[in-house]
């Protein structure tokens, strides 16, 4: 801060520009006009404005807007150099795309932000794509919707859908296979525990598996082409819970224990259902697709039911 307080007497435009750049380097998140004013109280507003405008026009400074006014920020040289040789419109579009980060941005949103006509934007986008500065990624949320992001970025999970998508198609077979494998693992563990003939408490405790163990098992199986994280496996294990085949308990674990997250460890175990299929669905009418339309005297009725006859003679 002491440096900031040092007052420079010079009013040379180049000095002012350099001073602004220095300030920007000090505050990488950006500076407001107020900061510059405090730093150089002697410089007239007119001079300050010309200096800033020059910096903006040569692309060394970024103008951003946040909740409390305008912000100036130094543009990193790399990106400045990338868009070298392109016109202002291209730079603008590039900036917008850059700001969108790895979530990407839709071309219509670019239009709203840049106020450029769509045809123009399409031309620029094509141009940037051919220069390999940006890329188009198809979003899983809407298959027709292309979003643009910088070429070197890894698309966000919300765009690609994470490990469960390949080319924005949900890999339901892959999920099913993982689901079955996880269940197999837990079930074999539960069976081994049951056969161990130990005291019931020990039996129960040894039937539990942490999510880390399941993750390791799946990784070692090598059924997955992509790298699965432990969260991915937990999502799969959750589907098993919703299938009613698995139960989960959370226990406190010492920090640093393998497989613990925030001092918690998730334990899973395979369980048996509490009832066999209920009586209703063991009988033909319980499963009948036209059950609701079946009335005596109606087009579909118990007395002329073809299913019933076949079932009775079966």
């Amino acid at each position: 801060m002491t440096e900031v307080k040092v007052k420079k007497e010079s009013t040379d435009p180049v000095d002012i520009e350099n001073r602004i750049k220095e300030l920007c380097q000090q505050f990488p998140q950006g500076i407001t006009d107020q900061v510059i004013q405090n730093d150089m109280p002697h410089v007239e507003a007119q001079q300050r404005a010309t200096a800033i405008n020059r910096l903006l026009s040569v692309g060394q400074l970024d103008l951003l807007r946040n909740s409390n006014g305008l912000l100036y920020r130094l543009k990193d040289l790399q990106s400045a150099s990338k868009v070298k040789g392109s016109d202002n419109q291209e730079k603008l579009v590039y900036q917008i795309i850059e700001d969108a980060g790895n979530k990407g941005i839709w071309s219509r949103d670019i239009r709203y932000k840049s106020n450029l006509p769509l045809t123009e934007i399409n031309k620029i986008l094509k141009n940037l794509e051919s220069k390999k500065l940006i890329k188009a990624v198809k979003s899983v949320a809407a298959s027709k919707k292309k979003v643009y992001m910088l070429y070197n970025l890894q698309p966000d999970r919300s765009v690609t859908g994470g490990a469960w998508y390949s080319d924005q198609d949900f890999e339901s077979e892959f999920v099913e296979v993982l689901n079955q494998q996880c269940f197999k693992f837990l079930q074999s563990k539960a069976e081994a525990a049951r056969d161990s003939k130990q005291s019931p408490m020990v039996q129960r405790n040894s039937s539990f598996a942490t999510s880390h163990e399941v993750w390791k098992y799946i990784c070692e199986l090598g059924i997955s082409k992509v790298d699965l994280s432990m969260e991915d496996i937990e999502t799969i294990l959750n589907t098993l819970i919703f299938d009613g085949k698995v139960e989960m308990t959370i226990i406190a674990a010492k920090e640093g224990t393998v497989g613990s997250v925030d001092g918690q460890m998730k334990l899973y175990r395979g369980v048996n259902p509490i009832i066999q299929p209920t009586g209703l669905v063991k009988t033909p009418c319980g499963l009948c697709p036209v059950f609701d339309d079946c009335h005596e005297g109606g087009e579909i009725s118990p007395s002329n039911c073809v299913y019933m006859v076949e079932w009775l003679d079966f």
Binding site: S172, I275, V281
Partner: protein, 566 residues
């Protein structure tokens, strides 16, 4: 009362008591409370027929009467208990339970009493002993005292109870007839009577008599007269017994809980829960949410000795039961080595939930069941969240959700952000309400049962009205239940029964084999085949009825328990 229940009640009444009673009963169900005169007028039946029908219903405890709206001086009004009529669909199960608990004697006792509604002890004992003797080989007979002891056992375990004396019924009803529904008043009434489970002393000695099938009706009449004379000597006139359905239902409920625990954990846990339930059988109120608290010490002492569970192991099992997410067993304190209760209502709710899940699973597949369970667990979810949690592709998930929604198994809750309910500014949350869904499924079950009963009836007696319906609709395909079969199946059954009776009597008199085969050949080969298939059909239908009843029972108990705890 839903239409489905009324229909089913009608069919049940028709099957057990015939058309007239069915007409009176259904009318009474539809109208609620009626006087005798109104009933006769509206059903357009003769007054004495209505009277007799009411008597039949009253005998079986399905109908109650009391002073009408105009006070004790006004005409007596009748009301019918639908619930009690629906118990008829469970008769096979009651009888089977009695058989598995108390053997053939118990089976016959319950069967007789169910068939006649109410009976005196001496009468029951005699009938049962006679029937047992009849089925025994020549020269042996059943002793009355054995039947008496079985009867006493059934009473001690509250499976049978005394009918409330008529006079007190009248007086207790006069004050309360308007407010409480009879279904609730009915079971509490016999229990309030102090002698409800007291077996009277009867002086009945002797053995069952063999009824000769060759003896004609006159002999039967004589026997009946004699029975009447016998009755006066037994010393229990006026004390009638009825089946305590409530007690049977508690038994079924306990069995369901035990089997659920055994399935979920293991056999031993099931046995421990069985012991707990048995210990609190008589002390726990019928609709209590928990059993009486039992200490681990008590449970340990009460465990069957052949089970060999050491004390520390028992403690471990109890801890496991308490830890289980199903919460069948709860812990209420630490005294006496830990006080434990069985969470009856919770267990029923869990069983009902499992039933719903199983219905969804079987009807719509395991992925729909996954969505259904997901919604049960997470209460309210948006469509996108359902897709993400269940890991089902959006298209399929949407399809499944909409199917479930259209079947009313899943509900949709709209939460608008703005008062105009614009779809773009509204949250659409899917949810499952267990109680209404259970009610819905119960109606499904009734309908199913209804269909099976109906088809059963068509199969056995052949429904002429239906047949006429087919004939007018010529353009339809050939009627599946071929008309020829319909007409003859009733006759065929009668014929086969007749022949069987003849065969039995011939065998009893020691006829020659040639004679026997000759009689047997009175049923031709095609007839025999038809008979065979008919039996096959009826067996199938009956077993389906029983399976559906299993679901009905669970859902009913759940609904009742939830309503009771509110």
């Amino acid at each position: 009362m839903t239409t489905q229940e009324v229909r089913l009640c009608g069919l049940l009444l028709q099957e057990h008591f015939g058309d007239v009673v069915e007409k009176v009963g259904t009318h009474l169900i539809r109208c609620g409370v009626l006087t005798l005169r109104a009933l006769a007028h509206e059903t357009k039946l003769a007054l004495d027929l209505v009277k007799k029908s009411l008597c039949v219903l009253m005998q079986h405890g399905m109908c109650t009467f009391g002073a009408g709206r105009r006070g004790p001086a006004g005409p007596v009004e009748y009301r019918i208990s639908c619930e009690r009529i629906l118990h008829m669909l469970r008769y096979p199960r009651y009888i089977y339970t009695a058989k598995s608990l108390y053997g053939d004697t118990g089976e016959l006792i319950v069967e007789e009493i169910l068939q006649r509604g109410q009976m005196t002890m001496s009468c029951t004992v005699k009938t049962v002993a006679d029937r047992l003797t009849h089925n025994m080989p020549e020269g042996q007979s059943m002793d009355y005292s054995e039947v008496v002891s079985s009867f006493s056992q059934l009473v001690e375990t509250h499976f049978l109870q005394r009918c409330p004396p008529v006079a007190s019924t009248g007086s207790s009803n006069t004050g309360a007839v308007d407010t409480p529904p009879p279904a609730v008043a009915q079971p509490s009434e016999p229990e309030s009577h102090p002698d409800c489970y007291r077996v009277p002393y009867i002086n009945l000695t002797g053995q069952g008599k063999r009824r000769r099938s060759s003896e004609d009706g006159e002999a039967d009449q004589r026997a009946a007269k004699k029975a009447k004379i016998d009755n006066s000597e037994c010393g229990d006139e006026g004390i009638f017994w009825q089946v305590n359905f409530e007690r049977f239902h508690l038994h079924f409920r306990d069995q369901a809980i035990i089997s659920a625990v055994s399935c979920k954990l293991d056999q031993t846990s099931g046995e421990i829960v069985r012991t707990m339930l048995r210990m609190s059988e008589v002390t726990t109120q019928a609709n209590a949410a928990f059993t009486q608290a039992l200490s681990a010490n008590e449970i340990f002492r009460a465990l069957p000795s052949n089970y060999n569970i050491a004390r520390p192991i028992l403690d471990q099992y109890l801890t496991l039961l308490v830890d289980d997410p199903m919460e069948f067993v709860g812990k209420t304190g630490d005294s006496g080595g830990g006080m434990y209760v069985v969470n009856l209502h919770r267990a029923l709710a869990n069983l009902a939930r499992a039933t719903l899940e199983s219905v969804v699973q079987e009807r719509f597949g395991s992925r729909s069941a996954r969505i259904f369970r997901l919604l049960l667990r997470k209460r309210h979810l948006e469509q996108k969240q359902v897709e993400d949690f269940a890991m089902i592709p959006a298209k399929e998930a949407k399809d499944m959700l909409y199917t479930l929604l259209s079947e009313n198994l899943v509900q949709l809750q709209e939460i608008p952000k703005t008062p105009d309910h614009a779809p773009s500014r509204t949250f659409y949350l899917y949810t499952v309400n267990q109680l209404p869904t259970a009610r819905l499924l119960l109606q499904h079950c009734y309908k199913c049962f209804d269909i099976y009963l109906f088809v059963d009836t068509i199969q056995t007696i052949g429904n002429l009205i239906e047949r006429r319906l087919y004939e007018t609709k010529e353009n339809k395909q050939v009627p599946p239940f071929s008309t020829i079969q319909n007409i003859s199946s009733k006759r065929l059954l009668e014929k086969s029964q007749r022949i069987e009776a003849i065969l039995a009597s011939l065998q009893a008199t020691g006829a020659e084999t040639a004679q026997l085969t000759e009689v047997e050949e009175m049923i031709t080969a095609p007839e025999r085949q038809q008979l065979e298939s008919l039996r096959h059909h009826i067996n199938k239908l009956d077993s389906s009825e029983n399976q559906v009843d299993e679901t009905i029972f669970l859902l009913e108990s759940y609904i009742n328990s939830t309503e009771a705890s509110r």
